[in-house]
Symmetry: C2
Subunit: 284 residues, 2 copies
């Protein structure tokens, strides 16, 4: 029973992440553990646990994959916050802000290394998982570089915007579903998982942008509302919301088409977003 | 025959490193490949190939471990140069200097991820290698953090100096010998490999310091000559050289005690250093 109880499994994931992240147990290890302890919604861990259980995979494997994906995601957060000079993360000072730039580089490295170490818990299957994981980490880095390169640009097309958002956040959202699919021998469904997560990532970025229109304009950050305005949209705010709703609906449909309900939790997340976005009042 | 020809194998290692480092093939991938192409002595790759062949391990495994260790080392160089603001690497601008800080973080991340991906070439053995690798990467990060924390300090003891140098550079020098030992079932010799590499790393750092006494004093960098002077040594330059020679000799002895000549190349490297250090004229 315990093995399909997601809250029990999530606690195991937390424990494993903490163990791996304090390897070396110095200042970087402490900062890594403190960063993890600050919480977060653990979307990627939840997606991995759900997909693994739906596909009938063993509990230990589900926990390992969930910990790996969440550690890699947190590594990217720590380094992204430093690169973007975002001062806050989860309502607390970002790692670079609290411990300094050099320490933040070390903390991200430690979390990245920990992510791969978590995959070792899958024993003889680890090699296949690593190959796929490195491909997706490579895509995330490409997305992050592209995003950094677009800062301050006002001539970004919607296609470029979507490609960058998809690269930057899609891979670590699809990986938690891809890895269980891979081990379940359902390789042919991998492109569908990638597609669903990409659409979700794009829609999520648009929702985020809708909340930050003014701040992003001040900081010359890429924002879908500005992209649509530059493309001649009459009501860019409405157009952005419409587009976000459309992408969430597409993500939901793709996720539901995955075998054995492996993408059902992603579909539920899309549903929740659709509801709150529909209820939300846009700024005038 | 080819399989025990180190130059042939080294070319395979280079190829594998380039393939893995351009995953995503964007600006970060190009920068990573350019960084690798700038050369370096490939000490860690050579140590891994030598140890693997001495222990009778398969060629593909030797290449994988060599590529992994060299990629992890290069990841640490890219991030260290940024942290230390070292403008030059291998006679060319360091990655942060040529591509900017944010790109350098991405490049180091890509190389770190590539290091783990290289281990996947060892198939079902990869998991064991990863566990050990993460431990050693954790130690390197602890060493780097400790080193950063000592910048500007003038009250560093020789014991602390040696511990930090050992942590910072020892793990990625011993890993190329540790991983083949692990796969050859010679686990009981791992502490000896760690010890030999630690001593070599400490001696190497001292040699480096001897060449940078004035520059390090200007930049408030930790230097063994300053440490010995602060401890009351009459001729700190001579004392530092004596200590470096002693540590190289200890490293050599430990390396030669490894089974099947697995540490013989490390012993040769120590020998070369002993000769050039003995021949070198110290500044007045």
């Amino acid at each position: 029973m315990q093995s399909s109880n997601p809250e029990y499994s999530l606690r195991q994931v937390e424990q494993r992440m903490q163990q791996l992240a304090c390897e070396g147990s110095d200042r970087a290890g402490e900062a890594a553990v403190a960063h993890l302890a600050a919480g977060g919604s653990r979307v990627r861990a939840r997606l991995a646990l759900h997909a693994s259980f739906a596909l009938g995979r063993p509990h230990s494997e589900a926990v390992a994959i969930a910990a790996a994906c969440e550690l890699l995601h947190n590594a990217s957060l720590v380094h992204d916050d430093l690169q973007d000079r975002d001062p806050l993360r989860r309502g607390r000072p970002a790692v670079w802000r609290e411990y300094g730039d050099a320490a933040a580089i070390c903390v991200g490295d430690l979390l990245l290394s920990s992510g791969y170490a978590a995959l070792a818990d899958c024993g003889s299957q680890a090699a296949r998982l690593i190959v796929r994981t490195h491909q997706r980490v490579g895509a995330v880095i490409r997305g992050q570089c592209a995003d950094l390169g677009l800062k301050g640009r006002t001539d970004v097309s919607l296609a470029t915007y979507e490609a960058v958002a998809s690269d930057k956040s899609g891979p670590l959202l699809s990986l938690p579903i891809e890895l269980p699919l891979l081990l379940a021998g359902a390789d042919r469904h991998l492109p569908l998982a990638v597609g669903a997560a990409s659409l979700f990532a794009v829609a999520y970025q648009m929702t985020d942008d809708l909340e930050d229109v003014e701040r992003d304009a001040l900081n010359e950050e890429l924002n879908v509302v500005a992209v649509l305005a530059a493309a001649g949209a009459q009501s860019p705010l409405q157009a952005a919301r419409r587009l976000a709703l459309q992408r969430f609906a597409e993500a939901r449909a793709a996720a539901l088409a995955l075998p054995e309900g492996a993408g059902q939790l992603l579909a539920e997340f899309a549903d929740q977003r659709i509801h709150s976005l529909t209820a939300q009042r846009l700024p005038a």
